[in-house]
Amino acid sequence: MRLLLVTVAALAFAGPAAAACPTLADLEGEVMCPQCKTTLDQSDAPVAREIKGFIQQRAEACVPEGQIKDELVAQFGPAVLAAPPREGLHWLAWLLPIVGLLAGAAVVSALVWRWSRARPAPAPAAGSNGRPLLDPELERRLDRELSRFDG
């Protein structure tokens, strides 16, 4: 019973700590290879392997993800991050696509609303039999054409 309690307690404490440690897999999609301009997970270039090794080493030391990124930025500059940081002017890169999307949606909505409100075309007048009347000119022409078959 005591063993069980100790095991449960150990798991309870070890669980969150282990979860807090980043892995290479967590970061290699978020860090760029400066030579090949792709993310690390898509590159096997020597410099990419070198950076992966660095991340692996720092992850094993349980250095937080943000700090590993900061260390990489300090050496390679902000372009080493696949996504721009959420600060200062970099916010524009995050916000502009959303603003564009919303503006596009607003334009499309406005057009759809206008088209749906467009007045329907007046229905042609109906004859005594309830069917729509033909244009008089068209009716005359139709009569002429049909009279050719009467003879």
């Binding site: 020597p46 070198e50 660095f54 050496q75 500059g77």
Partner: protein
């Protein structure tokens, strides 16, 4: 009213496309093609200055501080095998000609500082090294890969064509020595 709105929307769209096109033209027109290409066309080109962290010692290092001395600028990275193989050529040149004022200046780029320092220690590099992790100097010089070597005369102009690939290679050794002699004589 709807006609006016339509016209305004069309005008706005045309203005937007024209603006983007103008931006593209401006970008292409003002894009720096790099010193190497101008040098290749036979133009007289000043070596782009840089001021970078020093890898082998604390503080900064800039090309301008060597004005008046001939400088061999070698771009390298610890991840590059030919860079390792050419180190003896650069080191022996530095040892042989430094008393005549020649400077060999390494520029380590796209590299981890720790890996670069280890590379310099293992390969017993004694000439000064600048650290350009983000690779900011590459476009100024037109560097496309590592290693690449440029030659800066005493007056700050680039001479000789850059040498791409390792200096230890047979096809580059003679050219390298000729360029060093040209630098010393200039």
């Amino acid at each position: 009213m709807s006609g006016r709105l339509k016209l305004a929307a069309q005008g706005l769209s045309v203005a937007l496309v024209a603006g983007l096109f103008a931006l593209l033209v401006w970008k292409v027109a003002t894009q720096d093609e790099g010193a190497a290409r101008k040098l290749g066309r036979g133009e007289v080109v000043s070596a782009p200055n840089f001021r970078l962290d020093r890898l082998d010692a604390p503080g900064k290092i800039s090309l301008a501080e060597y004005r008046g001395r001939p400088v061999v600028v070698n771009f390298w990275g610890s991840w590059c095998d030919p860079c390792k193989e050419e180190v003896p050529v650069l080191e022996s040149t530095w040892q042989r000609y430094k008393d005549q004022g020649l400077v060999v200046l390494g520029v380590d780029f796209h590299d981890l500082k720790g890996a670069a320092r280890r590379f310099a220690r293992e390969n017993e590099i004694t000439y000064p090294i600048a650290y350009d992790g983000p690779g900011d100097t590459l476009s100024d010089y037109g560097v496309t890969a590592a290693p690449e070597t440029f030659f800066v005369a005493r007056n700050g102009k680039l001479v000789c064509e850059r040498i791409q690939a390792g200096l230890h290679l047979d096809r580059n050794r003679g050219r390298f020595e000729d360029c060093v002699q040209e630098l010393l004589g200039a």
